[in-house]
Symmetry: none
Subunit: 418 residues, 2 copies
């Protein structure tokens, strides 16, 4: 990707063998990307490299072809494997020089803790010539800022709290002063009940690459999140275009859209329950407590969630949810009738306005000739009515359980809309 004239672009270089080995998940890159997007300096590339000077130099070369702003994360510590200072000075063709101010600060850091500066920390007092130190308010490692051939290079420590604090305190105000930033607005649509390809089909042209606004889809647990990115000359125009696109897509997709924010189905359903001052209970068989867990993930859920029964065997369905034994004998535990009886039992026992239930076969065992893995009956009881649906989910235990939980929450949401 060529550097664009008008729009500023960013790249992130993450350094560390612990990232390459998978022992550490790179959360810094995600955090910094989000921050850069809010500053209208979208990230266009990312590199993960080992604690090796030549590797970092190679990544700096490649990133400087693509981006105007590069943030290097990690490798600023005091040990032998910390090589970011060396790599930046190599890339910028300059030497490392002692910085008296940093020396004083690091000595002060150890003084305050009643110790002497260990010799290993001396390393941290050197900076590439012409670079500026970024203060570290949490640890000892100072950050680095240097400009080289029109590319602005920042280096921050790999410890997430230090990286975030340094970005907030030093880099963000710096970037906000840069010219050439075009306002970017981001809006979301959270959807359930339609496949990625169906959504893409309905939206067709709107998802084309290079389009502005640009629309992306991500999927998790059956939830599809659409992210609408709009770039314009002014903040107002960017907002307006993003919201216009959001509105148009929401109209096309109809009630598949459960939120105009990026949120979970439990959050969206919980909002509806709160809005209508309704309480809920759950009766879970194959989901085994997952729906309760998802609803109580939300702070303040005791306002609407009263509780539930995890009825994992027949006896608990009979004893705790008053499901008639004859019904189980007649239809089997995985049936429309049992789902209905379970939801009604929860509604009654917890004295709530609505209840949801699940009964199904999550696998890998438990399938019968006429009931295969992935078959789940889901029931919502609400306002003296009940709605049961028969679902066939892909036969993977985790998938079945998450899809069933979200399907149940979505069914309730749809019924609450009526």
């Amino acid at each position: 990707m060529e550097k664009a004239g008008l729009l500023l672009r960013a790249s992130i270089i993450s350094i560390g063998n612990e990232l390459l080995s998978g022992d550490t998940i790179d959360t810094n890159a995600a955090y910094l990307s989000k921050q850069l997007q809010l500053l209208s300096i979208p990230r266009v590339s990312g590199y993960t490299v080992s604690d090796d000077i030549l590797e970092v130099v190679k990544a700096l070369k490649s990133a400087s072809d693509e981006a105007d702003v590069i943030i290097v994360v990690g490798g600023l510590g005091p040990t032998d494997d910390d090589i970011t200072r060396e790599a930046i000075s190599e890339f910028c063709n300059c030497k490392l020089v002692l910085n008296e101010e940093i020396l004083k600060k690091i000595k002060g850091f150890f003084d305050l803790r009643g110790g002497k500066m260990p010799p290993t920390n001396e390393k941290q007092t050197y900076l590439p010539e012409g670079a500026q130190a970024l203060p570290n308010r949490i640890g000892t490692a100072p950050g680095i800022k240097i400009e080289f051939e029109k590319t602005l290079i920042y280096a921050v420590p790999g410890v997430p709290s230090e990286a975030q604090d340094m970005f907030e305190a030093s880099i963000k105000p710096d970037l906000e002063r840069l010219e050439g930033r075009k306002p970017v607005s981001v809006r979301y649509l959270s959807c359930f009940g339609m496949s990625e390809s169906q959504i893409a089909h309905l939206l067709s042209g709107r998802m084309e690459r290079g389009r502005n606004p640009l629309v992306n889809i991500t999927a998790s647990g059956g939830v599809k999140t659409l992210c609408i990115n709009s770039v314009a000359d002014t903040r107002e125009k960017a907002d307006e275009n993003a919201e216009e696109e959001q509105k148009n897509i929401a109209e096309i997709l109809g009630n598949v859209v459960f939120s105009k924010e990026k949120e979970t189905l439990a959050q969206a359903t919980a909002k509806k329950l709160k809005q209508f001052h309704k309480t809920i209970a759950v009766a879970e068989s194959c989901t085994g407590g997952l729906i309760g867990k998802l609803l109580t993930d939300i702070p303040g859920s005791s306002d609407y969630f009263k509780g539930g029964i995890i009825a994992y065997n027949n006896e608990s369905k009979i004893e705790m949810l008053n499901v008639p034994l004859e019904l189980i004998n007649k239809y089997g535990a995985v049936s429309k009738e049992i789902a209905e009886a379970m939801a009604k039992g929860a509604l009654k026992n917890f004295d709530t306005d609505c209840a949801i239930s699940t009964t199904g076969i999550a696998g890998p065992t438990g399938a019968t000739p006429d009931k295969s893995i992935g078959l789940v009956y889901i029931c919502v009881v609400w306002d003296d009515k009940d709605y049961v649906e028969r679902c066939n989910f892909p036969p993977d235990r985790e998938t079945v359980r998450y899809l069933a939980a979200n399907y149940a929450l979505n069914l309730l949401r749809l019924k609450l809309l009526i």
Copy 2:
């Protein structure tokens, strides 16, 4: 980094604007890196690129200079922004050709769900010429395997469950057959109840970098997993060294170690329940179904898990768990006495051999002058005895809930050992 003659090296290319924007954290790269390390094919670099053919081709070029094995993650879906197929065929100088077998499979996938294959999914039936399709047992997108100029290129979907399943089922067995790998043996120790720094302190020299066997710690939900990596000239020697180290460390850490495998506390506790032919029920207040969820994540959990009550308010504790109202009035719902009464209520109502309960303040609201956020009472009832513990967890809702759930499972595990 030059390709090495003897040791195989890997690179990962993660594709997706949602990664660059920070909307999604790249957990696939960490998972795959760990798996590659276990196969003695260490990852030497990583690229994060946008949904843009030229960008992916550029990353493929760079990665093929460094690595013998490249895994491309994402961009295999049915929409316009899915460009991995195109990028690989561009990089390998070959065209995309229709694969009849894939077409049949995808049509079958939709048939099973009673729908027709949407036209957008047609895209997924094309593969670079000479490539092999890797079956997807969860979704529609098949993976890709192709060899180009001595570099082995795999492409897997970005959905984590699909990426992992495809790696396990198709890529891992494939890579295990490659020559040039030195035998690596990996052993695990799963621990609970000791901090990372306490463990590091007890193990001191054993955790030094560059050591063989190499010991790493990762932490999640209070569980610390020690990974012991041993490299040797023969498989037998590598196994022997890893097992020797595992044995020594297990002795040092004592009953903090809950498993000699990499498993969850729910899995380890479930094994004990099965071993002793005991059944369990749960009574959850602040964990809201999470313990039930964790226990039923495990296939075959109906052998020992009968069910539970999510008692999120006082009424449900009274009605569904027979907790005396006077007890709540006297001690408050978050108390030793209520935890005990809840566990006993679950034991009785579900007629099980043991039961666990939680009652606490997950926050952010609900604290009182003498009961702060993070306070949780946990009770295990077992063999006519009950054990209650008062815990103070860090005051973050998610942390409180996961630590409480795992603490409860661990308490049961420890009592089952007696």
